[in-house]
């Protein structure tokens, strides 16, 4: 597979290490009353869709960035690849505005 790295252009997936569903960036609040449940679901349950999947790839043999790649798990077609930290930073800003994370 070839991953369109947002900074480095097309790169062979061999340069990357795969982690899994991009929901892993949404780590629950450790102080919430249901933290035990939400951490269990966060860590262990997956949508595992046959189709479009947002997932985390790490450019280990490259610039060491974590990417969120949107890929079809049936055809392997890659729809997009973005830097994970932009995504998470944006999400964190939003949730802190909403009074989420400490």
């Amino acid at each position: 597979m070839i991953i369109p790295h947002p900074l480095l252009g097309p790169r062979d997936s061999q340069e990357f290490v795969y982690l899994g569903d991009a929901s892993l960036i949404n780590r629950p609040d450790w102080q919430a009353g249901d933290a035990a449940d939400s951490f269990y679901e966060y860590q262990y349950l997956r949508d595992n869709p046959a189709g479009t999947h947002r997932e985390l790839w790490y450019h280990e043999m490259g610039d060491r960035s974590w990417l969120i790649v949107t890929r079809n798990t049936v055809t392997h077609e890659i729809i997009s690849a973005e830097l994970a930290n932009r995504q998470t930073a944006a999400a964190k800003t939003k949730s802190s505005r909403a009074g989420g994370r400490k």
């Binding site: 597979m1 070839i2 062979d12 290490v17 982690l19 892993l24 960036i25 780590r27 450790w30 102080q31 933290a35 035990a36 951490f39 269990y40 860590q43 985390l56 790490y58 280990e60 060491r64 960035s65 974590w66 055809t75 392997h76 077609e77 890659i78 830097l83 994970a84 930290n85 998470t88 930073a89 964190k92 400490k102």
Partner: protein, 983 residues
């Protein structure tokens, strides 16, 4: 023997005769021959035996689809079983032997199977060999195994090397026949980066096998002229002897180039083959088509061949399969064979054409509406029986029968992403369907356009269309003139009969087998394939599948489209395992990392051990030491009594900087780091999010915003990746940057009561490293040896007064030599990983043996190190009920009693309990002989271990028939109070 069947003409070089042997017979051929054409020229029809019935087998094709002409090629370690004679270029001294026969090809005792064929039909082995029970493995299976298989491997290591390469292009063109050449010319002239691959050693595809003209010249001459023009273009790369074997995601194609298979041995320094990974923006499949046979009784006799192959041997190789040849066809293409054979002076016995409306022929009698119903001849064709249109029979003498059942486009690569081909009635064949690999188009015969003119035009049109998609404009050019005949097929799959009619000649699958599969409800194509082995031969069904499917379709009353095909998989043609491995074999399987003191250690005569990717000194034998334990014991004692030194550069080192560094470290370790003072080091416990221990190590605070983390050697990469995940995905709010510093620093442990005295000689005098100024767990940037920047950590893995000193990696070799010199007065002793292991067990430090991924902080007795007052990775899930159970496993020390040994991997049992899984209480993780305690000791996990110090338990090792009595003790065998560390 002379080349009895050699004709005039052909594309062979008669000035270069080549000698070769087949089954020990010395024969000659010419440069430009394949082994197949040379065998044909020498009048050899019998080349092998079939898999199951050991029927005589002859060559049926002139291409890579050949299912029968398989030989053991070369000898010694280069022996290559199952080599297709049609793809083997003749070279001088070639040595080939037939396979799967005993004692000889002509007289094969296993052909008794043929007489028993009524009992050996589809799936017979699933129904028998079950009684008596033990006989399957003792008797039946060994017999079957010996009979199975075709050729034999040499049993020796492959002596050749293979390589890998990477290429990029705008347009990859697969196949250099008329469509491929025209596409290449079109794209090349447009300036596109083009790679043209062809499995043949001579470009032209069918043009090399045919007689018709292209652009007013012989087709093969036109191909040569096209290649000549392409060769002048810098943007076009032509790769002969190169087969595109697979299509992978996003335009990645694997192409195997046979660099040296046409030579007796590869040239010095050259690989045998290269696996090219071609990154293509677009690709065009111009792989042509494969001719089908027609099933009739005994249609497998040597001499019965594809009609296109028969004329191909005659036209290209000037080799006549026989003096008298009959033709059996259901389409016009068969007639073309008759014309070419007659032109070469071969007696065409008759054209048996199943169509009532078959055209007339100028060169032979046409038997319209007739079919070949049987054949005869010992070890090769002698006669065919023709069932005439009117119902009578005629017997024809012929040494070969050229059969044309129509052509199957080579759709293989279009199905590598599980797309299915679609049936096209007018050509009675599958053509590429939708759902092929993105970016792969098909042109010419590979998509059912069989005429030369059609292929040329389609090659150009498809090239223009593909290039347009990537923004390259290519111009159409005037097409060379060429034939544009239809093949006018009227499908005819199978001539009814009472005997066996073969579909898959290699695996011996007959029409009867299809019928039986149908009868037993193995009707889906996948069941049919698996039950009968149809299409599981080396050609992946290229010569057999469509025939088999058509017969199943008849039986079920479905159409062939409804019946469908099985899935085509890479590789397109059988491919040596070696070429996929490239040079990553043997000692070069993976890179080897060498620590900075490696060359020095070699000088010392160290014994080395593979530690993950690293090669580390295991121990340093001295003269007179004959057993490894002598060396290791000495190294341990010398370190504990005076001073020792060990290269610990392999530990992972991660530099962490930024205003958020403290909070970051505090988040990834379960214990607190926020308050660690500058200039101090702390042991850190790192958990996975699931609460299991991921790694441990010491982390130093070199500045307010600067930490240096160490990891275990094995987890250096994984921990770094994890930290980047935390930084980028979980805590982008923190201002922190990471860099791996593992390779930047050479780090040495200097351990033992005299370690300070040694270091004081090297550390520049302005740095006070006295116990008061630089106490246990201190760290700092210093200089050594007169100004060399260094880092000093007062940490200890051995339990002794110890330091780790780091210098830039390029000074590592100098540093170890300086340490050895400075340590001379104290008889400083280098120690290896074994002594390191002994000392850490004596001290009760855990490593990968203990941290096996199923161990919690609680199991280690470190539950207090999981802070509940802060958010850290793993804290929440380590509170799950099973992980906080009172009777959980607990790390203990183990000391052997009564002269027994502690053995890692033993299981622990309370005295007096049965030795079974139910009473299993734990296991031994590490073991060593402690020269300090003069006892065999170890570490392990046992239920409720913290409360059991002093108890005697049994360590059971039934695997090796051993057991031991062990006493549970504290894991800290030496200096439990830590006085030495602080000395």
């Amino acid at each position: 023997m002379t080349q009895v069947n050699r004709l005039d003409g052909g594309l062979i070089d008669r000035n270069t005769p080549l000698s070769f042997s087949f089954d020990g017979r010395q024969l000659t051929g010419y440069a430009g021959d394949t082994l197949a054409s040379a065998l044909v020229a020498n009048g050899i029809r019998l080349v092998g035996r079939s898999f199951k019935y050991h029927r005589p087998r002859g060559i049926i094709s002139a291409g890579s689809e050949e299912p029968n002409g398989l030989v053991e090629l070369r000898s010694g370690a280069r022996r290559e079983p199952n080599s297709r004679v049609t793809m083997t270029e003749l070279f001088d001294g070639l040595d080939a032997r037939s396979q799967n026969r005993w004692p000889s090809l002509g007289f094969d005792l296993m052909s008794v199977n043929d007489r028993l064929s009524s009992f050996l039909g589809a799936g017979f082995y699933y129904k028998t060999f079950m009684w008596p029970k033990k006989f399957w493995e003792l008797v039946y299976e060994p017999i079957i195994r010996r009979a199975a298989g075709l050729g034999a491997l040499s049993g020796e290591d492959d002596p050749d090397v293979y390589d890998r390469g990477y290429r990029h292009c705008d347009l990859l063109i697969i196949g250099a026949g008329p469509a491929g050449l025209m596409a290449a010319l079109t794209a090349g002239r447009a300036g596109a980066e083009v790679i043209l691959v062809d499995e043949d050693f001579r470009a032209g595809g069918r043009l090399t096998l045919e007689t018709h003209d292209v652009g007013g010249m012989a087709g093969c001459d036109w191909a040569d002229s096209a290649i000549a023009e392409l060769s002048t273009m810098d943007n076009v790369r032509i790769m002969p002897r190169s087969t595109a074997i697979g299509v992978f995601d996003h335009g990645i194609y694997s192409v195997v180039e046979r660099v040296a298979d046409h030579l007796a041995v590869p040239q010095p320094g050259k690989p045998r083959q290269i696996l090219w990974r071609v990154y293509a923006k677009r690709a065009l499949l111009c792989a042509g088509a494969t001719e089908r046979l027609i099933a009739f009784d005994n249609n497998d006799r040597p001499g019965i061949m594809q009609a296109g192959a028969v004329r191909g041997f005659v036209n290209r190789y000037a080799a006549a399969p026989a003096e008298r040849i009959a033709i059996f066809t259901n389409n016009d293409d068969g007639h073309r064979t008759a014309v070419d054979l007659a032109a070469a002076g071969i007696d065409v016995t008759a054209i048996i054409d199943s169509r009532d409306e078959a055209p007339a022929s100028d060169v032979a009698e046409v038997l319209r509406g007739s079919v070949v119903s049987n054949s005869s001849g010992r070890l090769g064709l002698g006669h065919v029986t023709v069932r005439m249109a009117g119902g009578g029979h005629r017997h024809l003498d012929c040494g070969a029968l050229a059969v044309s059942g129509g052509w199957n486009p080579n759709v293989h690569l279009t199905c590598h992403h599980r797309g299915r081909p679609v049936w096209q009635d007018d050509i009675a064949a599958f053509v590429p369907g939708d759902g092929g690999p993105a970016g792969l188009a098909v042109a010419g015969a590979a998509r059912g356009i069989f005429s030369t003119a059609g292929a040329l035009a389609d090659g150009q049109a498809q090239a223009i269309a593909q290039l347009a998609e990537i923004g390259i404009t290519a111009a159409a050019s005037k097409m060379p003139e060429a034939e544009s005949d239809d093949i006018n097929i009227t499908p005819m799959w199978h001539v009814g009969g009472t005997k066996r009619a073969w579909l898959d000649q290699q695996n011996d699958v007959t029409v009867k087998d299809i019928r039986q599969a149908h009868q037993e409800n193995f009707r889906s194509v996948e069941h049919l394939k698996r039950y009968t082995t149809l299409g599981m031969a080396g050609d992946q069904g290229r010569t057999s599948n469509v025939l088999g499917l058509s017969i199943m379709a008849e039986l079920t009353g479905k159409t062939i489209q409804e019946t469908g095909t099985t899935i085509y998989r890479p590789p397109y043609t059988p491919t040596p395992i070696g070429v996929f491995a490239g040079r990553s074999t043997g000692a070069d399987f993976r890179p080897t990392r060498l620590p900075p003191s490696h060359h020095w250690a070699v000088e010392q005569g160290a014994v080395f051990v593979e530690a993950g990717a690293w090669l580390r000194a295991q121990w340093y034998p001295r003269e007179g030491e004959t057993k490894w334990r002598q060396s290791v014991d000495r190294e341990v004692l010398a370190t504990r009594q005076s001073v020792g030194v060990c290269d610990v550069s392999t530990l992972g080192k991660i530099d962490i900087q930024g205003r958020g560094a403290a909070e970051f470290v505090n988040f990834v370790y379960s214990n607190g780091f926020a308050t660690l003072p500058v200039g101090k080091t702390r042991y850190g416990l790192m958990l996975r999010e699931d609460g299991m221990v991921m790694d441990d190590g010491t982390t130093a605070r070199l500045g307010e915003d600067h930490f240096l983390m160490t990891t275990t050697t094995a987890n250096a990469g994984g921990v770094y990746r994890h930290l980047e995940f935390v930084r980028q995905c979980l805590r982008p709010d923190l201002d922190v940057q990471l860099i791996s510093a593992t390779d930047s620093w050479a780090q040495f442990a200097v351990a033992g009561p005299n370690s300070r005295a040694v270091l004081q000689q090297l550390v520049d005098p302005q740095h006070d490293i006295s116990n008061e100024a630089f106490p246990f767990m201190a760290c700092g940037n210093i200089t050594v040896c007169g100004g060399l920047p260094a880092r000093l950590f007062r940490i200890s893995f051995s339990g002794e007064l110890a330091y780790e000193i780091a210098v830039p990696a390029r000074y590592g070799d100098a540093m170890i030599r300086a340490l050895m010199t400075a340590g001379e007065p104290y008889d400083i002793t280098p120690y290896g990983t074994e002594a390191l292991g002994v000392m850490r067990i004596e001290k009760g430090h855990v490593t990968g043996n203990e941290l096996n991924g199923t161990i919690t902080a609680r199991n280690l007795g470190m539950e207090k190190m999981v802070s509940k007052k802060k958010d850290s990775i793993g804290a929440i899930l380590s509170g799950r009920e099973a992980l906080v159970a009172e009777d959980g496993l607990c790390l203990v020390g183990l000391q052997a009693l009564n002269g027994t040994d502690v053995t890692a991997g033993s299981h622990l049992f309370a005295v007096g309990t049965p030795v079974d899984a139910k009473h299993d209480q734990g296991y031994v993780t590490s073991a060593a002989y402690s020269p300090h305690l003069e006892a065999s000791i170890g570490l392990g996990f046992i239920t409720n271990g913290a409360a059991r110090h002093g108890e005697i338990v049994r360590a059971m090792n039934p695997l090796q028939g051993r057991s031991a009595e062990l006493k549970i003790v504290s894991p800290h065998f030496i200096d439990p109070e830590g006085d030495r560390l602080r000395a």
